[in-house]
Amino acid sequence: MLLSGSWTIYRRELAGLFLGPLAYVLLGLALFVNGQYFTVYLKEVSGEVTDALTLSGGVSVVYWILMVVLPPLVTMRMVSEESRSGMLELLLTSPVSDAAVVAGKLVAAVTFMAVLWSSNLFYGLLCHFLGTAPDWPALLVMFAGSVLVSALLCAIGLCCSAATSTPILAAFLGLVANVVLLSVPYLAGQLGLGERHWLVRTLSEVDLVSRHAASFMRGVLDSRHLAFFLAWTVFFAFVTTRLIESRRWKT
């Protein structure tokens, strides 16, 4: 009941994403970059398809750059633009809860990101039919890891979109938040405080790159990391819902 209507919102958001030119620019960019790096890594790892796909679609710096940049661009308009155009007023006066609106939008953004990362699966499929089958379970776990990281970063982006009324500002805030989230644990490790220092230990708990996502990229499905991503995604979705509710009081 709480999320009734979210399917309608989800379909509308997904249609909105794929009807705009931005989606195809981002998809083209991701397809090109992943394909390019897959080709490069395939040569470097002597034709090991699974290793090449893991490197290009989960470990490389370019992958993480795309991961930092794309979710804020996908989510920037979802609340801020609708608030400005008045669509949010129409949605929030329809028999649909605020949580359903946020859930529909978030799942649509994550679906878009999943389509974007599915290029790795496409390359794996291509290699499979050409005679070199990849390690499919590992590849699928890696894909699931990419989707989970995207879900968290999309939730942060959606939160930024709900906090501002300008899409560009929302994208900028989301970008800054992602950079901080991904780089601060690494930078804390470079301060020379030692692994046992409380700051380093605390920050390592939220280290997405080398702690939580790394296990997925190795093809290991660890429930702790799964719970980590799901819990924080739900938390930011909850914050987004509260931010939308607070608009009612401020309007």
């Binding site: 209507g5 909105g16 008045g86 129409l90 028999p95 809860s97």
Partner: protein
């Protein structure tokens, strides 16, 4: 159907801005109610509270017996809401937008198939159902917005400034549509444009500074708050001594007259303001014909809702003599000898017969104004030298211009200062 009790909504830090203040009103099923008020009066805030978009700071609002805050979801199912900005997805087609709305309201496919063509026809979308919303004109988008609001068959229709930004023809069409909708829905429509409300609403609620300033039908508001009605008479009474006081006495004896004010003489014409409870032009005209007064002006003035709105909402005293009045103004110069003797009861129509018999009059039409030069009236013999007075506004003494007075010299244009040549 809609019950609002002591509704208050505060905005800003520490509730510094009181958008609506202790608002209470009730709207019965099937009523069409106009929410009227200047910008910032609290109309949109009230509508948003009723739709569940905004919570109230205090007080309660119930729609169809349900509290808009506690039973928000059920209330939203009973309301069709068209916000002022007419929010629509511009990248969707009209039928896709309608389908989206149907899904949001949990309508079944069969219900959607039944309702979509019906509302499209009702709002006059015609063959636009496959058009992209982004390519539609403002008026067409307004129709789509109305169709979206009407699709789930709401019991209550809330429309915020539905004619805002439309051209006059589109406004007329939307007004016509609203009148039609009133037969099947309880409609609450807000506007700051008074004729819109007068055209569609049976009842008017005037908001000013977040409070209800007036509530009732247009006629009730006019009769309760509008002040006095009066007949304005400008007539040449003849040279006899005390003609003005005798005329005043005669006028005061007419049935329905409350008082007669002698407003002095301009040229050969005496001016009277007859305060009355109904339109007494025919009685006054018949009396004038009987007494051989040469009428220059005979008009009935009553306050309009517009004046009341201005007076209440904008907090300044309206100027009824400068604003447009209701009824016709008749300016005539009729020699006494040509006027047949006639008498009749109030409203008997004798005046009209008399005037039309001279061939110089036409039946009065509402909202018609005929302005004549005072030179058309024959000066009474033996009277004082007549000033040539042109009446700019026949309802206001202060708006006369004495043509016999020297005209003020037009201001000479000041030549621009000559530039020094290098």
């Amino acid at each position: 159907m809609i019950h609002v009790e002591h509704l208050t909504r505060l905005f800003g830090p520490f509730g510094a801005v009181r958008a609506i203040d202790d608002l209470s009103f009730h709207i019965e099923r099937g009523e069409v109610v106009g929410f009227l008020g200047p910008n910032g009066a609290g109309k949109t805030t009230t509508l948003r509270i009723l739709t569940g978009y905004l919570p109230a700071s205090s007080g309660s609002a119930r729609v169809c017996g349900l509290d808009v805050l506690r039973d928000s979801m059920r209330v939203r199912k009973k309301i069709g809401y068209l916000p002022e900005s007419v929010p629509l997805y511009r990248d969707l087609r009209v039928d896709e937008m309608l389908r989206f709305q149907a899904r949001l309201h949990g309508m079944s496919r069969s219900d959607f198939r039944r309702r979509a063509p019906a509302v499209a026809e009702q709002v006059g979308l015609g063959d636009l159902t496959r058009a992209m919303i982004g390519t539609l004109s403002r008026g067409q988008r307004q129709r789509v917005g109305l169709a979206v609001a009407l699709l789930p068959e709401p019991e209550v229709l809330i429309l915020d400034e539905p004619t805002s930004g439309l051209d006059p023809i589109q406004r007329m069409e939307v007004r016509k549509l609203l009148v039609e909708l009133g037969s099947a829905h309880t409609v609450l429509v807000s506007s700051h444009i008074l004729p819109e409300i007068e055209a569609v609403a049976q009842r008017v609620i005037i908001l000013a500074k977040g409070k209800i300033a007036a509530d009732g039908t247009a006629d009730q508001l006019v009769s309760k708050l509008g002040g006095e009605r009066y007949v304005e008479v400008h007539a040449a009474l003849g040279p006899a001594e005390g003609a003005a006081s005798k005329a005043r006495e005669l006028l005061a004896k007419l049935p329905g007259v409350r008082s007669v004010q002698d407003q002095g003489r301009v040229g050969v014409h005496h001016q009277f303001r007859i305060v009355c409870s109904e339109d007494l032009r025919e009685d006054v005209g018949a009396l004038a014909a009987h007494k051989g007064w040469a009428l220059r002006e005979l008009s009935f003035r009553q306050p309009k809702l517009e004046q009341i709105f201005a007076k209440i909402a904008l907090e300044f005293e309206s100027q009824p003599t400068l604003a447009g009045g209701q009824g016709a103004e008749v300016h005539l110069a009729v020699p006494a000898a040509q006027v047949p003797q006639a008498a009749g009861a109030a409203g008997s129509g004798l005046t009209q017969l008399a005037l039309q018999g001279t061939g110089q009059a036409r039946p009065p039409a509402p909202e018609t104004r005929v302005v004549a030069n005072s030179a058309g009236a024959a000066p009474a013999p033996g009277s004082a030298p007549v000033r040539a007075v042109y009446n700019l506004n026949p309802f206001e003494q202060g708006a006369h211009r004495d043509l016999s007075a020297p005209k003020p010299a037009p201001a000479k244009p000041t030549p621009p200062p000559a530039k020094d040549s290098p």
